[in-house]
Symmetry: none
Subunit: 537 residues, 2 copies
């Protein structure tokens, strides 16, 4: 147990999500208004206290988001929607400032104002005086508070500024607080500050700040999560970050790590245990909406976060769960998973068989373990090919696929007169008592073979029309040697509800492709229940 | 500047890479012996002090790695190769223990022994007494030291153990040290410890440990990098981790963040500034060898780590660099990047052309930039295909490859009577005034086409015999859509001194393969000087 947790009850910390603003600056991320509305609803469901929706007026899309949110397209049950923007311009007046007007027009209960809090940035980027910078903050906050808004202030480049001139840092925080800001958020804008410095600087500021402080960290040093925890240790009452750690450059602090660390390890209340148990599914759902492949190795919520591969571990897990799981995976909506690989021994095979609902006796488990080791030595890689693994296990029990038997096949690719390429596959296959000959064209050998096989056996197995290949990957192994190179083919398939991956390895890429394809189709038939329609042997 | 850096010179910290052992437990990672040898050589080039090669005897592959390393297939210039394994079994003798014998047989200068240092794990997993656990460590270390090995001890579950019974932790460290271990490494095996606890526990142990301490952290709490820094702050003299943060579950501490944080921010010497400047290219090279897509958002070395959105001017960056970049990207072998399109900017094209010795006038640069943008939209990815990029630029000047012209080709793959697969390619090609028809067999379509083309044009271009394909990768793009999916083929080639990558994109995988193959051969001929032998037009 953490020493922190052993202490007395800690003050609660607010969670402020900026996925829709700072997070959407992540390279490769582009959100529609609908996407943003969906993500906001998911964040509310997760239980974060603030959802920053964007910068109204920055683009038509941003303005549209707030318009639709206000029109009732977004109903937040507990989160507070925040509009983000800058203070009034240097040398201008707050009243009539365009950005502040857009912030008011957004119609949110709360506004977050960003302002430069480092003297060198005030002078170098804003090109104004420190006094004017303080006036810009104070007057902008006062105007918004006067209009009934809750106001937070993001103090940009705060840590760099504190190192330059801690006196100005103090003036900045005090000016924002006295003008009515409810929270001043210390931002490590370029992400360069390390946890020890965050803890020290936060402790200093918390000692004299008249209002609660927040922390906002970027991951440029790989320490955004640790920096958030350090800030809380030194008194921060709010942490800003993004679900899944999205954000410009290396991303913002990943709330999927910050929240469970605070709640489960430091005893700091955030979103409560019931909502925490929704973390992993919501994180994956958000990833789906924003169309970014989730990182399997992401702490707490990644599909590999509680996956066990080494044989040494899987046997120990059964005995002493805490050996290799730092928290109960269920507390964050995740689960334990066992991965079969060359590292795994018999215990992993037995566990995996159990998960698949196969009952293997001890000698069969030993056989399978030996066979997997041999196949992996030849280039197979079963931890990513759960489908083919299942078939290896089934075959070890004496099972044979009862659906079809290949007699021969031929694939021809040739250039047409116009220089384009045409691929055609011919297949001879036995289905039950029938011998079927079929031919089909495709975008390449695998595609053509797939089409020909479906033509040959499709009439017997109509379920097959719901099964599709979704990805196809090829790798040449041991490429440094002139001879002995083999090709590994991986095929991902789906029937709409479940997905599976199959593998083929051979010196001949077409042979490897065929093996993976055959496994894919066999599993598609197996999962569709075709087995019962046309029983084995 | 960090407060740490402002202090006096810090003691150096050893970097211990365990990518080939702990890192290879990462789900989705499966290394051949050749892969392991290549990664070890890259780590040596990076300048890490220790390269852990694996667990000899754990599988045939592991044993083979050490055999080939000892046989001269791995020459480390400065790193020390380490074999990893467990202590003698409980209740047995060290002399004659199988694991220890395998460790000695591996023939490495150093050995790392892992041993449980938490009482509950000793009792629950090892099922033995604490005294026996200490004897297992002491006797195993003594045996290896007696045989002339440098010995390190990985104290498994150390932090959990210290919280349970700090007295046993002390006995453990002292026993290992007195038996001759040069370093005792405190391991956070389940990755659950937070930085503040690491700093506190390390400080305690460093106060009485008779030998230097190391730290080994997993990223389950998202704090592995920060934990490594906290350990160093409290006296650790060695950090174990993995390049790119590979490892089981959520990964090990990412050395690509640990090293620059220590060196650039905390003033702790590790691999030196010259080698640090190789960090990003070596991290990417390792990712390529282990065939894991690099994380663009990875701190320091990711392609997005110093990427700035369009609209920010170079002049703005120059004026106030620290606004956007926490360190000089060049210090870690990375660079500032402006996100518009990968190669779309004219200045990038002009720079690249200059590097290739091509003189493009302004309209041609604009043409190429437009063409690259169009091709990248269609699935090309020139950042990794320097060879094809060069040909696009050459063609923009009106250049045509003068070596051969394809009339047509055909590839047939069919099953033989014994069920094995045979691939044959026929090619019709014009070489100078000759029309040549050639046929060849291969391990697949690309291999057969390559062989047929070489047969057709080889007599005219004998230089071609020195050019080889070294890798071949296929990816399907836009797989989520039912239609419009294209295949991207990448081919790596070498003539023994230089290497180049070419790309082909098409709906038909054979057509994409042919495009990449043709570019590869053309470049091989170009680089060999064949151009001058048979001048254009």
């Amino acid at each position: 147990m953490s020493a922190d947790k052993a202490g007395t009850a800690r003050a609660a910390v607010e969670i402020y999500d900026t996925t829709l603003r700072d997070g959407s600056q992540s390279e490769g991320l582009s959100l529609t208004v609908d996407d943003k509305l969906r993500v906001a609803a998911l964040l509310d469901e997760l239980g974060v206290h603030f959802v920053e929706g964007g910068w109204p007026g920055a683009s038509g899309k941003e303005t549209e988001f707030f318009r639709r949110a206000a029109a009732g397209d977004l109903v937040l049950e507990q989160a507070t929607l925040v509009a983000f923007g800058s203070t009034r311009r240097a040398g201008a007046r707050a009243a009539g400032d365009g950005v502040l007007a857009d912030l008011l027009a957004a119609g949110t209960p709360a506004v977050c104002l960003v302002a430069k809090s480092s003297p060198s940035h005030v002078r170098g980027a804003l090109r104004t005086t420190l006094d004017e910078a303080l006036a810009m903050v104070a007057e902008s906050v006062a105007l918004l508070v006067g209009e009934g808004k809750r106001v937070l202030v993001d103090a940009e480049h705060f840590f760099d500024g504190w190192r330059e001139d801690a006196g100005f840092s103090r003036q900045f925080v005090v000016a924002a607080a006295e003008a009515g800001a409810e929270t001043v958020v210390l931002c490590d804008t370029n992400g360069g500050t390390l946890p020890a410095d965050v803890e020290r600087i936060f402790a200093d500021v918390a000692g004299w700040a008249p209002v609660p402080l927040g922390g906002h960290f970027h991951n440029d040093s790989g320490c955004a999560v640790a920096n958030s925890l350090a800030a809380v240790r030194s008194g921060a009452r709010q942490i800003q970050g993004c679900v899944n750690g999205y954000g410009e450059r290396t991303g913002n602090a990943d709330l999927c790590s910050v929240i469970p660390n605070l709640q489960l390890k430091m005893g700091v209340p955030t979103i409560g245990p019931e909502r925490l148990a929704r973390l992993a599914p919501i994180a994956h759902h958000v990833a789906e909406v924003v169309n970014v492949a989730p990182d399997p190795h992401q702490p707490y919520v990644g599909v590999s976060a509680f996956a066990h591969k080494a044989g040494i571990h899987t046997s120990a897990i059964a005995r002493l769960r805490s050996s290799y799981e730092h928290v109960d995976p269920g507390a964050v909506g995740n689960g334990t998973r066992f991965v079969v690989s060359e590292m795994g021994g018999r215990s992993t095979v037995a566990l995996k068989a159990q998960q698949l609902g196969l009952h293997l006796d001890d000698p069969t488990v030993a056989d399978v373990a030996g066979r997997l080791k041999d196949l992996e030595h030849r280039g197979y890689h079963f931890e990513v090919a759960d489908g083919s693994l299942e078939l290896v296990m089934r075959r070890a029990t004496g099972w044979k696929q009862p659906f079809f038997r290949l007699e021969s096949q031929r694939v021809i690719t040739e250039t047409r007169d116009d220089g384009s390429f045409l691929t055609e596959a011919t297949i001879r296959v036995h289905v039950g008592d029938q011998r079927v000959l079929a031919v089909a064209e495709g975008n390449g050998p695998v595609n053509a073979l797939d089409a020909a096989l479906r033509q040959a056996i499709g009439p017997t197995y109509p379920h097959l029309s719901g099964v599709h290949l979704t990805d196809f990957k090829v790798r040449v192994l041991d490429t440094s040697r002139g001879t002995g190179a083999v090709t590994r083919v991986l095929i991902d398939s789906t029937d709409g509800t479940r997905t599976w991956t199959t593998i083929g390895v051979s010196e001949n890429v077409i042979e490897a492709s065929w093996a993976a394809l055959e496994d894919s189709i066999v599993l598609g038939l197996l999962y569709s229940g075709a087995e019962r329609q046309d029983p084995p042997r």
